[in-house]
């Protein structure tokens, strides 16, 4: 998104704000789906992210890329929703958790799509911080510095978190037959 559009959006230009929202709503949504594992909760989190984005765009000072800044807002919203989801009854949480799980197929000749689905399923079992780091680094393709800025931590922490996450995934995959 060019600097002129961002500047207009900061001044409240409707067309500029609309362009920024449309350019980022898919990023917020797929991040929420990946981290919450629930499409309905992800939709609510995306709407909340957009509202906070509109509310705070005037305060964006440009010290980071707008996309990274907006992903930081989305992460905070997702974490709040995750806390709310964890407060639900075990039955509700179990139902939500089951949406995130995909039974790993022991079939060695599983299709690529099934393999990817398996991989995403394993991701949902990772701790929240590791899942966030892997999603931002590998799926959103943010740099180490941008990932650190979005997660509000140091770049070294991101490197260590990603390393731990990959080791966990490799270990889980190695346990499944013929999926390494």
């Amino acid at each position: 998104m060019d600097a002129l559009t961002i500047d207009k959006a900061r001044r409240g230009n409707r067309d500029a704000l609309s362009a920024l929202i449309l350019a980022n709503q898919d990023v917020w949504y797929r991040l929420a789906v990946g981290l919450l594992g629930n499409s309905e909760a992800a939709r609510d989190a995306t709407q909340e992210t957009a509202m906070r984005f509109l509310k705070n765009i005037a305060n964006f000072n440009g010290d980071s890329q707008l996309r990274t800044w907006s992903i930081g807002i989305a992460l905070n919203v997702i974490r709040e929703h995750r806390r709310q989801l964890s407060l639900r009854t075990p039955e509700e949480y179990g139902f939500i958790a089951s949406e995130r799980r995909i039974s790993p197929s022991p079939d060695h000749s599983a299709s690529l799509a099934e393999h990817h689905a398996l991989l995403r399923s394993l991701l949902t079992d990772l701790p929240d911080r590791q899942r966030e780091a892997i999603t931002l680094r590998f799926f959103e393709e943010l740099s180490v510095d941008d990932t650190a800025a979005a997660m509000n931590c140091a770049p070294g922490t991101i490197k260590a978190t990603v390393h731990q996450a990959l080791r966990t995934l490799r270990s889980k995959l190695s346990k499944l037959k013929g999926l390494i």
């Binding site: 929202i21 797929r30 939709r43 799509a113 393999h115 990817h116 995403r120 590998f138 995959l173």
Partner: protein
């Protein structure tokens, strides 16, 4: 690149295929409206046009001046015949006043004629005094 990294990179396309089912800009932004400054300008222009129409509608009509041609003065004529004067105006809408009888010569006499006329008047005055 390790196997797991490759697999994650390959799964990226499936991840990015997910799209938000709707239009957040349409849902959250206020409806588009006419900006303030053009509306003020249009309102001012409309008010000025209305005021101009009202002024023209209630303005008293001012006769437009017309070019008055210089007309030659009408020479009045007076008729001295009493019979004519006694006639009532009902018979005629106009009264003809002829001040100078038509029989009177109005031409300017020459000097010699004037002097001769003056001598004749002097002799007439002397004759009348002698007779008295």
């Amino acid at each position: 690149m390790s196997s797991i990294r490759k697999q994650l990179a390959q799964a990226r396309a499936d991840y990015r295929a997910q799209e938000y089912p709707g239009n957040l800009a349409h849902d959250l932004l206020p409806p588009r409206k006419i900006t303030r400054y053009p509306s003020i300008f249009i309102s001012a222009l409309s008010g000025a046009a209305l005021a101009a129409c009202l002024i023209l509608a209630f303005q008293p009509s001012i006769p437009t001046p017309t070019n008055v041609a210089i007309q030659t003065p009408i020479k009045p004529t007076l008729t001295t015949q009493p019979a004519v004067a006694a006639q009532t105006t009902t018979q005629s809408e106009t009264i003809d006043f002829t001040l100078v009888p038509e029989s009177m010569d109005l031409s300017v006499p020459s000097w010699d004629a004037f002097q001769e006329q003056a001598n004749q008047s002097t002799e007439t005055t002397a004759t009348s005094r002698e007779s008295v």
